[in-house]
Amino acid sequence: MISRNKFSRVFQKHGSHSGVTARLGTSLLSKGKRNRLPVIWLGTNTCAGDSISLLNSLDPGYRAIISDLIDLRYYHFGMPAEGDKSTGVLEDTLAERPGEYVLIVEGTIPTRSNGLYCVIGNRRGKPFTALDAVQELGAAARYVVAVGTCASFGGPYAAHPNPSDGKAVHKVLDRQVINVPGCPAHPDWIVGTLAHLVWYGEPELDEYNRPTLFYGETIHNLCQRRHYFDSGIFSAHPGEPWCMYKAGCKGPVTFADCPYRQWNGEHLNWPVKANTPCIGCVSPEFPDHTEPFFEHLPDIHLPQVTVNANRVGAVTGVLTAIGIGGHLVASIIKGRLPKTLKKGFSPAKPGIEILQTTPAQILVDSIKKMLKKKR
């Protein structure tokens, strides 16, 4: 079995080269085939984008993942079973393998009306809500992984006005949740995190509980167009081939390795390479506080009013200019300013100078004294 360091190195540095993950996978998958971790993949309020992203994994492919890496017991998006047959699997896993399985949640957890805005099935003739499922299954899981920005931080499904009062997984569970955000999450981020959990346990996490393996550096620092940024060569609009900073790129405030990992299973492209700005989809404030996507700063939401930050700056500047300008004109008309200027530029009166002390003056004077003493 390869070392944890080598695993991290390969996943971090060579993620974009197809074949590397396969080589890594082959050496690892063969070992733990018998001890595959049971995995439950719950879909709550979600667009299923992360499920589709997982299916786009090529090295290792979906088939290798479910046959060699994990024991995928429940997968809302890919399983043919329905009704009691499918929900029965959840109860069986909870009863037979408590403390052993990994719970993966995709989507926000609606909490309004006791969670009735998302029902994953029926249990004993009553609706089995996503809220109940996540709390029950999450409490007994070995690891809980929130896949996608909705599950990790709320994301689009908890965006304003959030009618279902959707929440991120860590807000309904009183335990450690590993966040793998992204809209959707890259297949490598999902598979890499799972592989790390299977072989080495919990990966190193950042302050937002994201694996630093994939979210350890800002997109901006890894960007292929960084030299355009430093040289001040910017695209004014999406579609132009230079730095997307002026077009609202959120790369400087977004931690992810998209620039060298690239999308999707084939590692071919990513937003900036396709001449559109990064929209910061892995960030905790996405999308409410990264919108408008093509503006540098987000809108400010006040009661009944939404204002753009740039407008706040412009209005403040104009009001300051009007205030100072108005006072200046009045000062000239009333003769206050000419009097002050006349006094200010007139030669000093003969006599004793009275100096008022200022902190800077005290500091400079004490240095002068010290230097004099030394001489």
Binding site: D206, E207, Y208, G216, E217, T218, F229, D230, S231, G232, F234, Y245, K246, K250, V253, T254, F255, G280, S283, P284, E285, H289, T290, H296, L297, P298, I300, A309, N310, V312, G313, T316, G317, L319, T320, I324, H327, L328, A330, S331, K334, R336, L337, T340, K343, G344, F345, A348, K349, E353, I354, L355, Q356, T358, P359, A360, Q361, I362, L363, V364
Partner: protein, 177 residues
């Protein structure tokens, strides 16, 4: 030192916010270098000033008290040209005190948000208080807008009050005439 470094920080910061040669920089690289050098001058001088204020108990002259609030209407009346006679104050007038106390709160906020944006990885913990790095960027920008407006007013009122006071903002020396 605070005033010149603040002006450099504002100009370079506005270039970083919205790159344009209007702010006096040719490239992002030069704007960032100026910003990062000025931030150290500003930060350390601010800390020294805060230390001085605490040690000498000078902060009592900066923050407005009950007397200043009582004296505020007279001061406002003079500044709005409703009264001719200039009221006299021992060191700072109520307007100055209000301004300085706001600066005393906003400068640390600006230093903290700036540090989080400067050391994105190492100070990630602090960004959590703002709900994310993009929110930190917004807070940093809005504080700049507020402080710039205050500093513009501060410089203007110093000019209309006394040329020597205006000079003292940049030199640190005040010699009344």
């Amino acid at each position: 030192m605070l005033a010149p470094s603040f002006l450099i920080l504002v100009a370079s910061g506005l270039y970083i916010h919205k790159p344009s040669r209007v702010w006096g920089f040719r490239s992002m690289d030069s704007a960032r270098k100026a910003h990062f050098i000025a931030q150290y001058f500003f930060g350390f001088y601010f800390l020294a000033r805060a230390y001085y204020a605490v040690v000498t108990r000078d902060y009592r002259k900066i923050f407005p008290g009950v007397k200043d609030i009582i004296a505020l209407p007279k001061f406002v009346a003079y500044e709005l040209f409703l009264k001719k006679k200039k009221p006299k104050y021992p060191r700072y007038n109520p307007g100055q005190k209000l301004l300085y106390s706001q600066m005393a709160l906003l400068f640390p906020l600006q230093i903290i948000t700036g540090a989080v944006l400067y050391l994105t990885g190492k100070l990630q913990k602090l960004s959590r208080f703002f709900g994310g790095l993009n929110n930190v960027r917004l807070a940093h920008y809005l504080t700049t807008v507020g402080l710039s407006s205050m500093v513009a007013g501060h410089i203007y009122f110093a000019l209309t009050d006394s040329v020597e006071k205006l000079k003292s903002i940049f030199t640190g020396y005040f010699k009344p005439k």
